[in-house]
Amino acid sequence: MAEIQQLKSRGHVVLIASPFFGQMLPLVDFAKELSIYHHVIYVASASKLNTLKQHGFLTEDQDSKLILPNCQVDFIGLFDDNDDDYEVSSI
């Protein structure tokens, strides 16, 4: 555990997702892998992070902070009004 903590002190990485689940989910998986070696912060629209929580991809810790189970990734939500569910419209 001490060795992992030492590895984590190497770098602080910020991952930024666009507000579409097809883009967000692969980046969540990448965050999990990267968090083994670095301190990772995942940034996305706050409303979309809540939806990920509702679908079980994220949970809340005792401080009501969003977390990934078994991973140390910090999640930060943006209050950017990207609250809509985007639909594909025909061209």
Binding site: G11, G22, I76, G77, I91
Partner: protein
């Protein structure tokens, strides 16, 4: 997303009439690396201006990068709008590399094609990180077992 991201990533240079916090919390330590989704171009530009390392994340096949480059030069109105494609291509040249959720053996021809172009991003390193397997795929299978099956299938 622009204002909240600027306030979060570069608060010293964030100028706004509002003092409200636009994020759920702040970042309290220096950032060593920014990895931004391919369509979220602003952080890459800002990172370049502030000498912070930044990479573009491609969440699917690297063919998406070729598509964007084609849309930036095409006059037709298919796919990504040309003005957006031009901004994204310019942003690629400001990044230090691509991180792609694909497999190098599948997409290497696309990377080779990019190397043949004269674009400023043509020689950027491309790092393939797939397969990224989510644990939330099937409760009855272990992740390792699924990964082995997938890799042997490929």
């Amino acid at each position: 997303m622009r204002e909240p991201l600027q306030q979060l990533l570069f608060p010293q240079s964030f100028a706004s009439s509002s003092t409200n916090l636009l994020t759920t919390r702040s970042i309290d330590h220096p950032i060593d690396l920014i990895v931004s989704d391919i369509f979220v171009h602003m952080p890459i530009r800002n990172a370049y201006e502030r000498n912070v390392l930044a990479h573009v994340f491609v969440p699917c096949s690297f063919v998406l990068v070729s598509l964007i480059i084609n849309c930036s030069t095409c006059e037709t109105n298919d796919g990504i709008p040309k003005d957006l494609a031009l901004i994204l291509v310019k942003t690629f040249s400001l990044a230090k590399g691509f991180i792609c959720n694909s497999i190098d053996k599948l997409d290497q021809p696309v990377v080779d094609d990019l190397h043949q172009t004269s674009l400023s991003c043509s020689n950027l390193p491309v790092r393939f990180v797939a397969p990224l397997i989510s644990e939330k795929i099937d409760n009855q299978q272990s992740v390792n077992h699924f990964q082995m099956k997938l890799i042997s299938f490929i």
